[in-house]
C-alpha cells in the first residue's frame, strides 16, 4: 500500500477493482464503512457480483482480463473532460517531459510500441527515451502542448479507448462506464480524493503489472498520490506477505528491494554502478543513489567481520543470476519437471494446490529425490505421492515432514499491507515437536555447516562465513537458544565503528560503535554500518543508551486525526504512513486539501538543534528539504524516482511505457479488438511455440503440461479463480477446522442462470469443470451474481471457482480438488506472476 488500512476512511471515492475486500480482507470493510458514513462512494468492478459488490454504491461487471481497456477508457474520459488536476500533473509528474520523436505507439504500429523485436519477443527501448537538453536534463513543456510531450502522447494513445470500444471489449454496459468515469473523475479536484484497492485480481494476469500502471496513471492525473485517502493500494493476501516481500522472498530481489546480483556484475563496484540511477537534476533527491550504502550494509549484516574492504565485502559470496536467468515460480516447477532439481523445501506453502497448473506441479514433485515439507499440517504437497493419478510405486521422492509452530506459538514481527511492522508476543508454547521457523533454520544451518566442515563441498565460503549470532552458543559453537530479537536487531543494523557526519565541520558523531542504528540515513558504504534490510532501519533502535523495539510500541495518539497513529508499532520507511506525501502539498508546501493535511510546511517552525527556521508538520515527510518553490534547496516530491516526479510515462517496463489492452493467453476472442496483429501481450514468455500454431507443446519446444487452448470450442467459457472468507489459501488451516468446513464444505463453481439453462444444469448439480490441462468436480452454484457478457456483438459466459480445496482433507475426498488443476502455465511480462484470473474452461453435468 502507498497508504494504509485506516487511511481508506479518508477517501471520497473508493474504487475496488481487482480485489474483493469484504471476502478476503474483511477488516478493511470497517474503514470502507466509515468512509461511506461520511458520504464516500464505493465503486466495485468485478466479473462477479461479490460480497463487496453487495455493499457498493455503483457496481459494474467486466470480463476477466480487460481491466486496461476499462481504465484506458477512464484516462481518455478524464483528459477529454478536463477532470485532471492540472497543477499537480504539470509539476509532479512527467507529463511535461518530451519523448524521442521516433517513439511510436501501438495505434501506429499495429499493436506494438516502437523497437519491437518479433523473434526475441522484447523491446529495444531506445526510442522510448526522454529528449535531453544540453545539461543532460529531460526537456519539458509545462504548457503540456508539445506533440512529443508525455501528456500529448498519453492523450493520443488512449484516444483509441472510447466508451463504445471499451464496452465491446469489457462487456461492461456503456452507461455504467460513463457513470464510474464521472464519479471517479470527480476526485481530480484538490479537495476531493479517491483511493484504489486491488489484490490478485489485478496482478495475476499476463498484463498484471500494466493493470496497476494504468491505475497509477489515473491517480497521478487526478492528483491522488501522496494524499490522505488516496494512493494505489495492494491488499496483501496473507498477514505477513508484505514482510516477506520486503525481506527478499522473491528471486530477483535481496532484502530491501536491492536487485539480486548477476554473474556479469563481477564486483561490488560494478553492482553499485549498474544499480544506482543517475540524474543531473540537483532538485531530485534520487533516493536510490544510496544503493551502495544499502548493499554494503547488507553484506556486513550477512557476513559480519568476514566482510572486509579487502574482500569486496564478500560480494563474491552472494548467489548470482546468469544473464536472462529467471527463477520465478513457473520456471522453478518447469525446471523441476525437467529434472533440474534434486531437492525442494516447500516451506509454509502448498504448491500442489496453490500453484498455477497444479497438475504440472504435482508431476514435477515426483521428479525430486527429496522434499522437505515444513508446515503446520501435512498437505497435498507433502503427500503428493499418494494423490489422485499418482503411481506411488514408481515415485522415488523421499519426503521429510517438519512440523512448524503457528503464528501464535512464536514471537516476532509481522508487516501488514500498510507497511506497518507489528511485534507479536508468543501466546502459547509450540505444540508437540513443532518449532518456530527460525529454530528449524538454525538447526539446518548448523547441520549443513558441520557437513561442509567434516566432508567438504563445493564453494563452502558463503555458508562457513555467515555471521550467525542469534543467541547463546553451546560448547560446539551452535546457537542453543535462538533469540528472535537478535535477528530483528540485525535487520535494523548497527554502527560497527563510531560513525561521523563528515559534511559538518567539525564532523558530528552520528552513532557510537556497537549501538543500534538510528535510521537508514546513517548507513554507510564503507563497511562501518550493518543493516539486514535498510527499509527496516529504525525499527529496533536505541535512544540515549536505551534499546527500543519500535515495532512493539502501542501508543494510541492520532495527532493529525487522519488515523496514522505514529506511536503504534512502526512502519517503513522511517515511520512514514503515506508514501510520496510531498505530493500532498502545493509548491509552497501548503496542503492541497487543508481538511486532510498529511503534511504542511511551517516557515516559522524552529529546528531545536540548528535554530534554523522552516520545517514540516504532520506525517514524516519524504525528506526534510523545503517545498519545491524554494529554488535553491526545494526538492521534487517523488524521491524514489531519478526524475523526481511520478511516471505517467513509464519507459522502464518490459511491455511498453503506456499500458495497452491485450487479451489473456486463453480468451474467447479470435483477435484483439484493438488491432488484429497481437492478440496477447507480445512480450510474455511462452513456454512453447513462440511462432505458433500452439497445438502440440511437445513438438513446439515445451512440455505436454503447458498446453493452452484459446478461442477453442472445446473450452468456451471464461473462468477465474478466487477465495472466500470462510477459507484461507489452499485451506490447509481452514479445511481442518470443522466450523469453516461446515460453512463452505466443497468445491463449487458459480455460473449464470443463462448458462445453466443452456447446459441444462440445475442449482446444486454435480458438474465437471475442465480446461486444456485438467478437470475438477464441483457443485454448480447457479446464480444471478454472474451474467453473460456482450463482447464484440457475441455472448461470452464467465464462471468462477475458489481454489481452497484439495484431495487430501477431508479424508473422504468430499471437498474435491484444487481449481489450480485448470489454470495455465503463463506469466506476466514483468513479474512472471501466473495468469490464474482469466482462462478458458468447459462445464459438463456429471
Amino acid at each position: 500500500m502507498t497508504n494504509h488500512w485506516i487511511d481508506v476512511r479518508n477517501a471520497d471515492v473508493i474504487l475496488v477493482m481487482g480485489g474483493n475486500p469484504a471476502e478476503n480482507h474483511p477488516i478493511s470493510m470497517k474503514w470502507i464503512a466509515k468512509a461511506k458514513e461520511q458520504g464516500a462512494k464505493l465503486i466495485v468492478v468485478d466479473p462477479r457480483f461479490t460480497r463487496t459488490a453487495a455493499k457498493a454504491d455503483i457496481y459494474a461487471p467486466l470480463r476477466s482480463g480487460t481491466d486496461i481497456a476499462f481504465l484506458g477508457g477512464m484516462i481518455k474520459y478524464i483528459i477529454e473532460n478536463k477532470l485532471y488536476f492540472r497543477e499537480y500533473v504539470a509539476n509532479y509528474t512527467n507529463a511535461s517531459f518530451l519523448v524521442n520523436p521516433e517513439f511510436k505507439g501501438p495505434g501506429e504500429l499495429n499493436g506494438v510500441f516502437s523497437g519491437y523485436d518479433n523473434k526475441g519477443r522484447k523491446y529495444d527501448k531506445k526510442t522510448w527515451a526522454y529528449q535531453l537538453d544540453e545539461n543532460g536534463l529531460p526537456k519539458k513543456d509545462l504548457s503540456l502542448k508539445d506533440p512529443n510531450c508525455v501528456f500529448q502522447l498519453l492523450k493520443k494513445h488512449y484516444s483509441r479507448y472510447d466508451i463504445d470500444k471499451v464496452s465491446s471489449i469489457t462487456g461492461t454496459p456503456a452507461e455504467k462506464l460513463k457513470e464510474i468515469y464521472d464519479v471517479y473523475g470527480s476526485t481530480g479536484k484538490p479537495d476531493r480524493v479517491g483511493t484504489e484497492l486491488y489484490a490478485m485480481g489485478w496482478t495475476q494476469h499476463t498484463v498484471g503489472t500494466q493493470n496497476i500502471r494504468t491505475m497509477a496513471i489515473i491517480q497521478l492525473l487526478l492528483g491522488n498520490m501522496g494524499m490522505a485517502g488516496g494512493g494505489v493500494n495492494a491488499l496483501r493476501g496473507e498477514s505477513n506477505v508484505q514482510g516477506s516481500t520486503d525481506h527478499g522472498i522473491l528471486f530477483h530481489i535481496l532484502p530491501g528491494y536491492l536487485p539480486t546480483p548477476k554473474a556479469v556484475w563481477t564486483d561490488l563496484k560494478t553492482y553499485i554502478e549498474k544499480n544506482t540511477p543517475q540524474t543531473k537534476d540537483t532538485r531530485s533527491v534520487n533516493w536510490w543513489s544510496n544503493r551502495g550504502k544499502y548493499i554494503t550494509s547488507y553484506l556486513k549484516a550477512v557476513y559480519g567481520n568476514n566482510a572486509t574492504k579487502d574482500n569486496d565485502f564478500a560480494y563474491a559470496w552472494l548467489p548470482k543470476l546468469d544473464e536472462g536467468m529467471n527463477c520465478s515460480w513457473l520456471v522453478l516447477f518447469d525446471q523441476m519437471l525437467k529434472d533440474k532439481f534434486e531437492g525442494f523445501f516447500a516451506w509454509g506453502q502448498n504448491p500442489a494446490c496453490s500453484g498455477a497448473n497444479a497438475g504440472k506441479v504435482r508431476k514435477a514433485l515426483a521428479r525430486l529425490k527429496w522434499m522437505v515439507n515444513v508446515n503446520l499440517f501435512d498437505n497435498e504437497t507433502g503427500s503428493f505421492w499418494k494423490g489422485p493419478g499418482m503411481k506411488t510405486e514408481e515415485i522415488q521422492t523421499e519426503v521429510f515432514q517438519l512440523p512448524a509452530a503457528s503464528s501464535v506459538e512464536k514471537e516476532g514481527s509481522i508487516t501488514n499491507s500498510g507497511r506497518l511492522a507489528q511485534w507479536r508476543t508468543r501466546a502459547i508454547a509450540p505444540v508437540g515437536e513443532s518449532m518456530p521457523d527460525s529454530e528449524i533454520m538454525n538447526e539446518l544451518y548448523f547441520r549443513v555447516r558441520k557437513l561442509y566442515k567434516d566432508k567438504g563441498g563445493k564453494f563452502p565460503a558463503p555458508v562457513m562465513n555467515l555471521d550467525w549470532n542469534y543467541g547463546e552458543k553451546d560448547a560446539s559453537g551452535k546457537v542453543a537458544k535462538f533469540d528472535i530479537h537478535q535477528v530483528a536487531k540485525e535487520i535494523n543494523g548497527y554502527y560497527l565503528e563510531d560513525v561521523y557526519d563528515k559534511k559538518t565541520d567539525p564532523p558530528t558523531l552520528l552513532g557510537k560503535k556497537g549501538d543500534l542504528c538510528a535510521s537508514f540515513v546513517h548507513l554507510q558504504a564503507d563497511g562501518t554500518t550493518s543493516s539486514g534490510n535498510w527499509l527496516y532501519s529504525q525499527s529496533y533502535t536505541q535512544k540515549e543508551g536505551k534499546i527500543i523495539n519500535m515495532m512493539a510500541r502501542r501508543g494510541k495518539d492520532d495527532p493529525t486525526g487522519l488515523g496514522m497513529y505514529p506511536g503504534w508499532a512502526w512502519c517503513w520507511p522511517v515511520n512514514r504512513h503515506v508514501l510520496y506525501n510531498r505530493a500532498s502539498v502545493d509548491l509552497n508546501g501548503n496542503p492541497w486539501n487543508p481538511q486532510r493535511a498529511v503534511i504542511k510546511w511551517n516557515a516559522l517552525k524552529e529546528d531545536p538543534k540548528t535554530k534554523k527556521l522552516g520545517g514540516w508538520e504532520g506525517d514524516v515527510p519524504d525528506g526534510p528539504a523545503p517545498p519545491m518553490a524554494d529554488e535553491k534547496t526545494g526538492k521534487y516530491p517523488f524521491i524514489m524516482r531519478a526524475e523526481g516526479v511520478g511516471l505517467i510515462y513509464g519507459p522502464g517496463l518490459a511491455d511498453g511505457p503506456f499500458p495497452e489492452h491485450y487479451e489473456a493467453l486463453e480468451c474467447p476472442l479470435q483477435e484483439n479488438p484493438m488491432q488484429p496483429q497481437h492478440r496477447i501481450n507480445p512480450t510474455i514468455k511462452l513456454f512453447y511455440g513462440v511462432e505458433g500454431p500452439h497445438q502440440k507443446p511437445a513438438a513446439e519446444g515445451g512440455s505436454l503440461e503447458d498446453i493452452f487452448a484459446s478461442c477453442d470450442i472445446r473450452f468456451p467459457f471464461v473462468a477465474t479463480t478466487y477465495r472466500v472468507s470462510e477459507h484461507w489459501q489452499t485451506g490447509v488451516l481452514t479445511r481442518h477446522l470443522p466450523w469453516q468446513l461446515e460453512m463452505s464444505p466443497e468445491q463449487f463453481v458459480e455460473l449464470s442462470e443463462e448458462l445453466a439453462e443452456d447446459l441444462k444444469i440445475k442449482n446444486g448439480d454435480k458438474v465437471i469443470v475442465s480446461s486444456a490441462r485438467g478437470r475438477v468436480r464441483a457443485v454448480a452454484m447457479v446464480t444471478r451474481r454472474f451474467k453473460p457478457f456482450k463482447v464484440m456483438d457475441s455472448t461470452v459466459h464467465q464462471v468462477g471457482l475458489p481454489w481452497h480445496f484439495g484431495w487430501q482433507f477431508p479424508e473422504d475426498g468430499s471437498a474435491g480438488d484444487s481449481a489450480n488443476l485448470l489454470t495455465p502455465t503463463i506469466g506476466d511480462a514483468n513479474t512472471m506472476i501466473p495468469e490464474t484470473k482469466a482462462f478458458l474452461v468447459n462445464i459438463e453435468k456429471v
Binding site: A22, E23, P26, I27, M29, K30, A33, E37, F49, R51, T52, A53, A54, K55, Y59, P61, V724, S725, E726, L737, P738, W739, Q740, L741, E742, M743, S744, P745, E746, F748, K762, N763, G764, D765, V779, A780, M781, V782, T783, R784, R785, F786, K787, S814
Partner: protein, 253 residues
C-alpha cells in the same frame, strides 16, 4: 445497567460469517458435516450447534443483476418471550439480569413447547433432547464482556450495548424506527432495516400464538395445582396445539 441488546445493521454486514465461527468457538459448539446445495448459506438452518447464522437473501434489483442481503439470524431475546411463557419446567428458561433469555439444560424437560411458541422459530433440541439456542453469551455479558459474535464483527453490523444507547445509535444513523423496538415488549436483538422487514425475510408483526398467551394467563396457574413436569407439558400441548403433535418440533441435523 439497563437491558442489554444487540443491534443488527444488515447494511453494514458483509456476510463474512465471523460471527458464526466466533459463536461456535466461544460456546464450543461442534461443526457438522454439510454439503454445498448451490448456496453460500450453510448450515441451511439453525441447529442445536448453530446459535446464529447469516441468511443470504437474493432479490431483484433495479440497478444491478441482483440485490444481495446478509441477515443475521438468532434468538431475539424478546421482552415478552413466548418460550418463557409456555415453558412448564421452572427455571429451564430464565431471564438474566442483563435481559438475555438463557436456559438451564438440567431443568429442561424436553417438551419442545418453546419451539412452537417462538415467533421466530429459534429454539432447537440437542441429542439429549434438551433446549439449545443463543443465550447472548450470558456468562460473558454477566462479566461485562460483549458476546462473541459482536466482538468479532469487523464492520459494526452487530453491535452490543444498552438497549437505549443502541436505539440512539440507530436513530443517528438515520433509522427512525428499528425492527423490534416495540414488538413483544421490545426485542433484545433489533434490526436496522432500510426496507420492509419482509424483504429481509422477517415477520412484519411478530407475535406469540394466542393459545400460548391463553395458557400463560389462564391455564398455567390451574395446571400447577395438581400436575407437574412432563404431565403438565402434555396437557399444555393438548390445550395449546391439539393432540399428538409433540414430535413435530423442527428436526435438525
Amino acid at each position: 445497567m439497563g437491558r442489554m441488546s444487540i443491534l443488527v445493521s444488515p447494511e453494514l454486514c458483509i456476510g463474512c460469517r465471523g460471527c458464526q465461527t466466533a459463536c461456535k468457538e466461544w460456546n464450543q459448539l461442534s461443526g457438522v458435516k454439510t454439503e454445498n446445495r448451490g448456496s453460500t448459506e450453510n448450515p441451511p438452518d439453525l441447529t442445536p450447534n448453530t446459535f446464529n447464522k447469516i441468511r443470504y437473501v437474493e432479490l431483484p434489483s433495479e440497478t444491478n443483476m441482483v440485490r444481495w442481503l446478509f441477515v443475521s439470524q438468532r434468538c431475539m431475546h424478546c421482552g415478552d418471550a413466548g418460550c418463557m411463557k409456555i415453558c412448564p419446567a421452572p427455571g429451564a428458561l430464565f431471564r438474566t439480569d442483563e435481559g438475555a433469555v438463557a436456559f438451564d439444560k438440567d431443568k429442561c424437560v424436553g417438551c419442545k413447547l418453546c419451539v412452537t411458541s417462538c415467533p421466530f422459530n429459534v429454539p432447537r433440541y440437542d441429542e439429549k433432547n434438551k433446549i439449545s439456542k443463543c443465550h447472548l453469551c450470558a456468562e460473558r455479558i454477566a462479566n461485562r464482556l460483549e458476546p462473541a459474535c459482536t466482538k468479532t464483527c469487523p464492520t459494526g453490523a452487530l453491535r452490543f450495548g444498552e438497549r437505549d444507547a443502541l436505539l440512539g445509535l440507530a436513530q443517528k444513523a438515520g433509522y427512525a424506527k428499528v425492527y423490534g423496538q416495540a414488538d413483544l415488549e421490545g426485542l433484545g436483538a433489533m434490526y436496522a432495516f432500510m426496507d420492509a422487514p419482509k424483504i429481509y425475510g422477517m415477520n412484519e408483526n411478530p407475535a406469540i400464538p394466542e393459545s400460548v398467551v391463553f395458557w400463560d394467563n389462564v391455564l398455567r396457574p390451574l395446571a400447577y395445582l395438581g400436575l407437574a413436569g412432563a404431565v403438565a407439558a402434555s396437557l399444555v400441548h393438548y390445550v395449546a396445539f391439539g393432540p399428538k403433535k409433540i414430535e413435530e418440533g423442527k428436526k435438525d441435523e
